[in-house]
Symmetry: D2
């Protein structure tokens, strides 16, 4: 019987200029896929270069994490952009990151939309379609990572993309499988998070906020970098996965 | 005996958002290589997408025209950046443009530094080296276009880059082969410009401001988009080249 | 019997860096109030300094025209900002422009929200309230200029602001008094525009798109700078106002 | 005999959007003058509003800390701008901050140039003159704060500005009275810093790097916010000043 595999992902490279954000050096030791900001909502060329090198050093696969052109709002404010704008913002950002990835002899693995761009694409089909077509144009084998149950997820599948489902073990989920979003991330019990992660990996199930079990067939587990004890949670998941014989591997080895 | 060939180039895609700059639609009909702005000193993802499509439609080869991150100063103000910053600004901008070029089924042909970044690289060896290494990392066959006689030109050759020399027929040159830069471009007599262009193509010579003839072995002739009668000059050069049996061809067919 | 007075206004100072927009030099000769961009959606410190000097030279009163922090979208894309963000964006932009106005020995006359910020404030009461409170905090006598019939207009009046109504003679109005917005401004017949302007000034009425007459008590008449023949329209209005003995005067002499 | 007075100042409000920088809440308790970033090299309208309120709550006088339009480089990279650009960048930034200060019922106290703009003005007379004239235009009583011995300092005095000298007790000074600048601030012994501060306050002297005593008649003592133990140093200075009967007071009560 084959060994269970699971990817662990986190947003990385969100610093900008003299502004530091997140504990990338530490977190990169525990994850297998990094979602790297591309200079619109966060990140800059120096940060991108550094983050990609850090990923390489830790054997972590790199994906793009493009967002709205709104550094001031960290890409978390909805902007009413046209589908063509969405398409070209994706091409620009993912293209820029790809240059940093390829000069390290690596291949870009995935794309995950950031913040409000993700929320808009989840509901607006024209935006979702433009975004996904842009990703396909960059490379048809790129993996589109998404939370489950959204329009952009369905469109990506319909357009023949490789789609991966990500579940946050520092989030709670309603009975419809939708995450209950928090404005500010809270401390999460590492043991509980690790238990959730194991159950997702082994059974494809989680317990919803209502107490009932729901199906959650995820390819990757997300720990948010701004969850105060993110490093601790990741370390615990790693240890418990080891005991349970679950292999941590990047998305491209799982899909 | 083989037919003479010459490339004609111009800066393109310098509009931004609702701001229009230059007469790209018209100029693109006469040139063979376009230097496309990459969103730092000018251009944006929408403009880049449009400009690359326009180049394709007109059979024009596309190069990147990266600059300082200074839209407010149009990349014409020197900034004291570190070599590592220069390197990563190049990777970012050229990488972004490459995505737009490749999705059209084209290949990026060349890189030409814009404005003050070009001036800084021309004198600062560490910056020049970082920039040229970055270009090589993106693709070793990319052509580095430059004015003659500068440090960055010598370094590019020493590092084994394909280097092309560009001469502006709407500029004047001193006896040392250095252009006499003008803050504001003036009307240039199209007939004179065409004569200059033909002499460069056939003899590899120009007349310096002092009246003496100097050697000027150029691969490409530049007409500045902000020279008021740029279109007229380009049309005249095209017509005269036709009569003289000089073929207009993109750089990659000349080097 | 007192002579009729009417203000003529136009958006000014929308250039940015090397990008030119609008024909400010010409238009400034015909208007009495200028709505000056403040560096967020358009304009920059050099442009603001120049525009305010130009207004002074032409005896034109200056108002602020603040917008969303979205130069790329020219402030025409809705952004989901919080009321506190709206408040502080107004304070910042209007405060900045005020410095340029006061060093010329002038006083800031009015504030008119630009583009999508105006649209958002027109419907979102919390944003409207924050914006209007910010304007009052800068100076309680500042005039708030607005199209008729909107939430922000009502709130401004409720908060005791001086409110002026602006009507565009290059726009059409529905029977509810709401403008029929056009994405791209069209040529407007100068004679028709002047007739409209005179009727607004003398009778406070316009003919709606349905053919019926509606009340339109305006304090100022707007000609959009991007209407192709804006200068011609303004010149015609000036000439016809002269014949009809209608005095062109800035808002502060009208309210 | 009158009691000795000394101002304590620190750069404040350097956060941007979701990016936090510095420990403003803590430091504001110990200083008497705050140099508040104005949105070009750091700070944004939300941060400015918050920082000014925090200053008011702590009875701290507010000054403007304008810089180059280079958020990416935190205003620490020299840019080759024209004097007119410098003048208008000052008007814009100081004008914007003034709006936040005045709505709190406070008056702007001083202006201190940030980073590379300060370095450029220190050597380039035309820039220095433009900057100082701009400050005077905003308000002739504004205090221009500067390190000693620089061109901009002399020009400010020649133009009749109120000029205050600031000395950093977490820096070392050469025998010419010029600070030995460090790229990265180091831990500074609080007791040593307090001793230095007392000697400056009482004797107007410091010991230079060469061991000799030099004159240093300062009006304000700077502790850099990025010195790792800035809060501890400020607390120690406060305690020692108390013992020595030196009153901490804002610049406007000292000059």
């Amino acid at each position: 019987m084959s060994r269970k595999k699971m990817d662990l992902n986190c947003d990385m490279g969100e610093s900008f200029g003299n502004y530091k954000m997140g504990n990338d050096e530490e977190i990169m030791r525990y994850i297998s896929s990094a979602n790297v900001a591309c200079g619109f909502h966060a990140g800059d060329p120096m940060v991108m270069a550094h983050t990609v090198k850090l990923a390489k050093k830790n054997g972590v696969a790199v994906g793009a994490h493009p967002g709205f052109p709104d550094l001031l709002g960290f890409g978390r404010r909805k902007m009413e952009i046209a589908p063509e704008e969405a398409r070209n913002y994706i091409l620009y950002q993912v293209g820029a990151l790809k240059a940093f990835v390829e000069r390290e002899g690596m291949e870009l693995q995935h794309v995950w939309l950031h913040g409000a761009l993700s929320s808009v694409a989840a509901k607006n089909e024209a935006i979702a379609r433009a975004v996904i077509e842009a990703i396909k144009e960059i490379h048809p084998e790129l993996i589109f990572v998404h939370r489950p149950g959204l329009a952009s997820y369905e469109i990506a599948k319909a357009l023949g993309m490789n789609v991966a489902v990500s579940v946050g073990v520092d989030l709670e989920y309603g009975p419809d499988g939708m995450a209950v979003l928090q404005r500010k991330k809270r401390y999460t019990d590492p043991k509980e998070a690790a238990k959730k992660a194991i159950r997702i990996a082994k059974e494809g199930k989680i317990t919803a906020t209502t107490g009932e079990d729901i199906e959650m067939r995820a390819h990757t587990i997300l720990v948010h970098g701004d969850t105060p004890n993110a490093v601790e949670i990741l370390r615990e998941i790693r240890e418990e996965f080891e005991k349970e014989n679950i292999l941590v591997a990047p998305l491209r080895e799982i899909l």
